[in-house]
Amino acid sequence: MAFKVIKPGLLALLQDLGRHGHQSIGLTTGGPMDEVAFRWANALLDNTPNAAQIEITFGMLSLEAQADTSIAITGADLGATLNGKSIMPWQTYPMRKGDLLAFHQPIWGLRAYLAVKGGFLCEPILGSVATVLREKIGGLTGKGDKLQKGDVLTYPTGLSHQQRSVPRRAIPNYGLKEIAVILGYQYQSFSPLERAHFFSSDYGISSNSDRMGYRLEGNAINSATKGIISEGIAYGAIQIPKDGQPIVLLRDRQTIGGYPKIGCVTRISGSILAQQKPGDVIQFTPITVDQAERERCLHMARLAQWR
């Protein structure tokens, strides 16, 4: 059975962990902007880690259940209501046939994740249902469309509900504005003064930010090199274009580019960054690859232990 989309919301997209293995032909990965929240939502329902969910940016989405199911909501608090009654993220809820689930406006964070027991059923394209608007690929139609009014999102039925919630200390703090950056191999092309600027300045999130990249506004950073020979861009890479305003490249990033990079945001800190709205202010803080590995191990161990 299924959810029927009553109101489509500003930007609600079907996502899984992404479309991998095709970057060599220029195809981006897509996937959840907040991977931490995404992984928790599937863990709450005992779904496979890659089960498809809906990423809800900002809100304004409402869905009607056409059959009983169990859902998990993680990520931002978008003022969600179930049959008009307020509900909190980071836990599971039972839904009965005819129930109305609505997401209103951001109270805390920007993107919420809605998982359903067993995952949303959708035909994958190149091994993934991840929706990438720019490349017109993935999602319900296969053509990269965001959710539309009247869409029917099917899920398996006959699965039981279990009341669960994410342990309090495992819930990320979206108010934390320190974004961890692994120092890049092109770090040397920035003078010590420029590096100091980068790590000591406040950066505002530009309104030009999207799933492709977060554009930042603040102290301009100058690179000693004007450009580099175009090379593959990893998730989280922080490009410094000519105007010196950093761009953090995220899930729907282009696959290659020729601007120097000062470092790379980890997937865990990128998840925090993706919850910031235009106008919010962040700072960068340096970490090493081994610190990033440890942080990631801890996160995965918590998920595994809890499942």
């Binding site: 970057q23 060599s24 220029g26 692994i182 989280g236 890479a237 696959t255 081994d290």
Partner: protein, 234 residues
């Protein structure tokens, strides 16, 4: 293979590392990268490979490897490549039919003026060169092909077009390319191909792969239309 130095390997993050094969763009570097890309495709836990002009980005599963294990695995894979298996022998040649004309190549006259050639000379020089696909990116299936003849070097348009029609054949600096989908673009458009560069239903998905050699073949308007070419879009 033996004459190529081993690449340097730098960690980009805890899930990606970059192999660098020097700072010079040339065919032997490109061959070397194509060969190593092929061999790493089969390495367990490699999630994605992004080859480019002088580098190869390796995205790996961080549940399989830490920063030491991935470098070791890559070095081992490179060391065990069979030097007798030449990739040059397997190199594919892709031929792309192009209708060169002002009606689908509105920048031909500007290019001709800039290069002090006639429009016919621009077309002749463009299709009489065999190119190499040095990198794929910008948009799915967009192949950066080099090098155009010196006389055809022209800078990008000062104001990029917001919509470049599918199949547009364009040049900029020392490179040429075909736009696989409708995107914004600042390259100088000199013609159009009726064939698809990207097909999600096909096995290879993209017509041109990194390392391929590519030729353009001029066709008439009639042939262009017979092959399904569209004239609109500007």
């Amino acid at each position: 293979m033996s004459q190529c130095a081993a690449p340097s390997i730098d960690m980009v993050s805890n899930q990606a590392c970059l192999l660098t094969f020097g700072q010079t763009i040339n065919e032997s570097t490109s061959n070397h990268i194509a060969q190593i890309t092929q061999s790493l495709k089969h390495l367990e836990g490699v999630v994605d490979l992004v080859p480019s002009y002088t580098t190869l980005l390796v995205v790996f599963d961080d549940d399989c490897y830490d920063r030491f294990a991935i470098v070791k695995a890559i070095r081992h894979a490179i060391a065990t490549i069979d030097p007798n298996k030449s990739t040059v022998a397997d190199q594919r040649e892709v031929v792309i039919p192009v209708y060169y004309h002002q009606e689908v190549g509105p920048d031909i006259d500007d290019v001709a003026r800039h290069c002090q050639l006639s429009a016919d000379e621009v077309i002749q020089r463009h299709h009489s060169t065999t190119y190499r696909a040095y990198a794929i990116g910008f948009t799915p299936g967009f192949a950066f092909l080099g090098n155009t003849p010196d006389e055809l070097h022209v800078s990008r348009k000062s104001t990029p077009r917001l919509k470049v029609p599918i199949g547009s054949v364009a040049i900029a600096e020392n490179q040429t390319a075909v736009y696989p989908s409708v995107t914004p673009g600042g390259w100088q458009i000199i013609g159009r191909t009726p064939i698809n560069l990207i097909d999600w239903g096909s096995e290879n998905l993209a017509l041109i792969a990194m390392g391929d050699s590519v030729r353009f073949e001029p066709i008439s308007k009639e042939e262009f239309l017979a092959l399904g070419g569209q004239l609109d879009g500007f």
